[in-house]
Subunit: 201 residues, 2 copies
């Protein structure tokens, strides 16, 4: 029997996706669940809701709580945390590179490295220098990957992943979807999502 699966949907600009990206692999391995990292863009989904930026910017009290909450969560996980400036970061380049990676072994490492650069080191993820340096660290061919990331094929792939997220009723990140279509939203639902995936095969 194949291992149970769980899709981890995220936008690189999403704050709560940072702790999820950092802790999902060991938790999934322990649960015997095969996780797929599925980057998408929240921007078009927020736009459809009438938002032109993060709800954490639109609603200051909500934003104030989120920053403090994330700080507490990272402290509990012993994860370094720096607030990205500006927020949200433009995640388009990183998402395209992750899409260009496809199912290459370094895709997941790349995703974690982007979150780390953004939230642990406070680097800008919209700069090709940041992304190029991450690719070089992973021994990927930065030049050809960055070129592939700008191809129509990859642009289209990312658009279609975002459309698929919307079809799955995803409205925020991180989100988790099981093989039987159960949707869980939020870093604090990771354990429940893994348990569901395991139970439902």
């Amino acid at each position: 029997m194949a291992a149970p699966v769980l899709d981890f949907w995220f936008d690189f600009a999403s704050t709560y996706s940072y702790p999820t990206a950092m802790r999902i692999r060991p938790l999934a391995d322990r649960a015997g669940v095969a996780v797929t990292f599925r980057p998408f863009l929240l921007g078009p989904i927020f736009k459809a809701l009438g938002w032109d930026t993060s709800p954490f910017n639109l609603y200051p009290a909500k934003g104030r709580h989120m920053w403090r909450d994330l700080e507490r969560i990272c402290a509990d996980l012993s994860l370094p945390f720096r607030r990205p400036e500006p927020f949200p970061q433009n995640s388009l380049l990183a998402a395209r590179v992750a899409s260009a990676a496809g199912d290459a072994a370094w895709q997941e490492h790349f995703c974690r490295a982007v979150f780390w650069a953004e939230f642990a080191e406070g680097r800008r993820i919209d700069e090709p220098e940041t992304i190029g340096a991450i690719l070089a660290d992973l021994k990927a061919d930065a030049g050809s990957v960055l070129a592939a990331a700008q191809s129509n094929e990859v642009k289209e792939k990312l658009r279609s992943e975002t459309a698929e997220a919307q079809r799955l009723n995803i409205f925020g990140a991180p989100s988790f979807v099981t093989a039987d279509g159960e949707l869980f939203w939020g870093n604090d639902r990771l354990d429940s999502a893994l348990a569901w995936a395991k139970r439902s095969g």
Copy 2:
């Protein structure tokens, strides 16, 4: 030394406040934290954000996830769950009665009974019959409590509690505030809030 304290802020119409109301007492007792139930009205706070109803109604995908998520949470806690109709319920009467109760011993029991009527039994909490029956069950004098709930003094008290919630940067329910002003939002932050209250005295 006095026991550490935690304020539990909620609106009776708030969906995630139901599981919190049902589980906070034994968890707080075990943690040695003195909890105060502080009902307020989310309506004026939502209005200030530009919302004329629950965000779960304004954003259907968010609402769809919430109902399913709440169903899962209640199943895990072995709590019965029925979706209130209409949603959100008008919580004004229940909130005024809870305010009228002040620090009477039955205030907390009343709050739990209202959540139970609404989310376990699917009863309308805006009807004086529902609230009167709950009061009678608690051996409170339903007639005089319902009259007190309509007094200017109680109306003013509830308004000032809502203003205090806003001052504390509360933007949703359930919310928890410690003696040192730390704000936690959401049923899934209850454990963290209790731990914080305990640590910070």
